[in-house]
Amino acid sequence: MIETDRLSTTFAALADPTRRAILARLARGEATVTELAQPFDMSMPAISRHLKVLERAGLIERGREAQWRPCRLQAEPLREADHWIEQYRRFWEESFDKLEEYLRELQTGETTDDDDHSR
């Protein structure tokens, strides 16, 4: 079982488009705060606040090298979030696939429908 409080923190961190863009950038490799700030029209303190949220959620890790402190993606919370979404998707995707097949059966008369009392 995935711990739900942790997942909530992950989803809250993911709720912001700037933070998702930062994560997407970090999925391609580590980067400094300056590099991360570049694509955004935002002040460095604003970017730093987003990074703190991501760090608290365990989604990124910051290097200890004093000057650069490069940011790295921490994949595990994202894996959990995606795993969770995947379970829900799978439940319904498989249900809808079965419904499609069943509707086809009903329409081709493969399933007897003679005890129909709904109309």
């Binding site: 079982m1 809250a12 994949a75 994202l78 959990e80 995947e86 498989e94 419904l99």
Partner: protein
Amino acid sequence: MTTTTADSPFATTFSPQGDREVVMTRTFRAPRELVWRAITEPRHFARWWGPRDYTCAVRELDVRPGGRWEAEQTAPNGNRFRFWGEYLEVERPELLVHTQHFMEFPPLVVTITLSEYQGQTTLTSVTRFDSPQGRTATLEMGMEWGARQSIDRLAELVESL
């Protein structure tokens, strides 16, 4: 995010919306009236609701505002999962709103709309959770399909959320 299982116009789309909703659509090659019956009549509902390797037993589908529904999923290993709730809005054959309870988790509200176009029916389902945390907890469902995530998909995932 909106994702589809295939390029087919009949594929399922799946889109988390905000922090507490999930929107799904699926188009069926069947008239709306038939789809309505498939989702509201017990003997039909039991035939399709749930994962492929699970079996579904319907205890009750009292499809009218205030009516109760209850169904049980049985996993291949014999584990049983009971789901139940109440119908809130019923407008045959186009709108069905119900609550869904699972174990002690906060209930969720599912709004299903059916629209027909040229003999095909599009089902849109909006699941609204009590809170982001409630969404998380409810969907655990005790069903372990196993993670199949790879680092390569992370960028794609966060871009699409």
